[in-house]
């Protein structure tokens, strides 16, 4: 067995154990009793919306949060204009009459805008919300309820993308749907280590005790969730709280986003490397190590297959030249060819395991569909996901690793 097969089968084996463990954890947690605020007990919350050049989306975002069923007397909405050069501020000012508090500052990054918002806030619970995010009317209430448990310092929602249009958005749509199950499972293990910057909730007391957002950090939301874990608090997930974000539609935009995320993850994990220890229970002993090993395998296998494909293309070109470019003689399809292909597939363990993981994906998606109620073109999106995600994921990681290794500057946009 070659080295690459050892790598592939090891990753499959670990994947099987991890998947089984997560499913078992999810099933076991179903019986757990959850402590929740009743309607009367709901505390005052502040939703902070920082924005830089978001004139096109800010109105929809405001309307979605204003439509929330959270008691109005306990809801404070703070908008921080982070030195926008377009008409963001003018659009926002129209919403003053709806009770939205507007602040404006010089451009300093999302973290600095959020910190200003926290300083101005009066709520016990702080929500950070992106200026292009749409929330379900019930999400604010549902998420806040979890703070009855005093150990909980942060609550993440069920984040999905808005209706996908491009192929890349379809891939991301499926990726986000699959993430719903894992996020909930991680929460049952107290192992959520990434909370979406698009919409998450925190206790204000945490900021008061441990400081606000790290303004120089390229993934300030990730840093914050790791900090919450580092200091031993709990991060919950509210799978019934739907939040819709806009996924990048172009390859270059998506690459920039992922490069920032993954480079941020590497840098922040390095900073909080002490989390990877027995002291942090399931998170430190299993969830994070497995995630890191999976990334390593994904990158390794992607590099291998990229080179393999290149060599195969080279061989095919040589063959074509050797048969004097007679294409017809190459592509003979008959029942024997199909039968042999079928035989080769069903007798290849890797294919059988891939089939198994596809079934598991189906289980994750059915969970997501139940939570969402309505999904868009699930089968088509799934097709594009299987076709492209593994390659894209490996590619994003390779680029991110290169950027971190060579200390290249990574900007927000």
């Amino acid at each position: 067995m070659g080295f690459i097969n050892i790598v592939i089968y090891t990753s499959i084996y670990l994947g099987l154990i991890a998947t089984t463990f997560y499913i078992l954890s999810y099933v076991a947690a179903k019986k757990d009793k959850v402590l929740l605020f009743s309607d009367k007990e709901l505390p005052r919350v502040s939703v902070i919306i920082p924005a830089y050049n978001e004139e096109k989306t800010i109105e929809t975002t405001f309307n979605s949060i204003l439509a929330s069923d959270y008691p109005k007397e306990k809801l404070e909405i703070i908008f921080v204009n982070d030195g926008s050069k377009d008409k963001t501020l003018q659009v926002a000012n129209k919403f003053k009459k709806n009770g939205i508090k507007i602040f404006s500052k010089k451009n300093g990054g999302k973290g600095s805008a959020l910190n200003l918002g926290i300083k101005k806030s009066t709520g016990e619970i702080i929500f950070s919300m992106d200026a292009d995010t749409i929330v379900d009317p019930k999400s604010l209430k549902n998420m806040t309820r979890y703070f009855k448990n005093e150990e909980i310092m942060c609550v993440s929602p069920a984040i999905v993308t808005q209706k996908p249009k491009s192929i890349l958005q379809r891939v991301q749509y499926t990726e986000y749907l699959l993430g719903l199950f894992l996020r909930k499972t991680f929460a049952t293990l107290n192992a959520v280590h990434i909370t979406p910057g698009a919409f998450s909730a925190y206790r204000k007391s945490f900021f008061e005790k441990y400081g606000g957002y790290d303004e120089g950090n390229i993934t300030e939301d990730l840093e914050l969730s790791l900090r919450v874990q580092y200091y031993g608090y709990k991060i919950e997930n509210s799978a019934e709280s739907l939040v819709y974000t806009v996924p990048p539609g172009k390859f270059s935009h998506l690459l920039k986003q992922r490069r920032r995320w993954y480079a941020g993850l590497m840098k922040n994990l390095w900073h909080y490397k002490k989390i990877i220890s027995r002291k942090y229970g399931d998170l430190g002993m299993f969830v994070l190590p497995i995630a890191m090993v999976s990334i390593f395998f994904a990158v390794f296998v992607t590099i291998y297959f990229i080179f393999k494909t290149l060599f195969e293309i080279k061989d095919e070109l040589i063959l074509l030249s050797n048969i004097n470019y007679d294409f017809n003689s190459l592509f003979e399809i008959n029942s024997y060819v199909i039968e042999r292909l079928f035989f080769l597939w069903i007798t290849n363990p890797i294919i059988v395991f891939i089939a198994f993981f596809i079934i598991i994906t189906g289980f994750y998606l059915s969970y997501a569909s139940k939570k969402l109620g309505k999904t868009y073109g699930l089968m088509t999106n799934l097709f594009f996901f299987y076709l492209l995600f593994a390659v894209l994921f490996g590619f994003w990681w390779i680029v991110s690793v290169i950027y971190v290794l060579f200390n290249r500057k990574i900007s927000w946009k």
Binding site: F21, L24, G232, G281, N322, L330, T347, N348, V352, F353
Partner: protein, 234 residues
Amino acid sequence: MENRKIKSKKRYVLAFIIGTLIFILGFVLTYSFSYIEYQRISNVQSQISYEIFNDKLDSSLFGEDICSVESFRRVSEDLGFQGRIIDDLERKFGKQDKRVLFRKQFYTLIELEHFEFVKEINEKCSSDIQTILFFYSNDEKIIGEAETAGELLGAVSSRNQNLVIYSFDIDLKSDLITSLKEKYEIKEPLTIIINEQNIVIAPENILEIEKYLQSNSYLEQNSSLTNNSMVIHL
């Protein structure tokens, strides 16, 4: 902060056991599929062998017209297909697997029986079905070159309708292979014998093979045989 406890050690043990069982099950399943295919191939081999034998006897004992033998085309196609599957099985079960080795030896026997049958048709029907004997090796050192040669022969086969290609693994421990190697003086793998006359070793271009092939009329005249051309056992 206080140390966090692992939620449930039992769950880890259970996940390890279930994960390991699924992992093993994956291999058991694929092995079972391979074995089912092996059994199917074994049955097909016996059937093909019987049909060739039957056709030959019909011709020699009962004077049946060998030129209109209908089963020829089907037998040729089946033979080519199962040759490939046996090769695949050898790779899956291992080179030393006795069951596959036996099937491979039996397959070589059927190939030669078929080869002889073709020669008989050529002789009795004044036809010129052309033949290629390809001596390959599954040795890992030259597997890439062997596959390239196989692909070239595949292309030759597609382009020449009056051609039957027989492939022989020169590493197979078989008296027949030894005799064949002696008869055609095969000293190295990737040797190709065209119409029992011309020798080409490890060809790099299709023309190196095709220059020894002749135009043919027999198969064009017999529509039932026009799809005879194929690589048997690559």
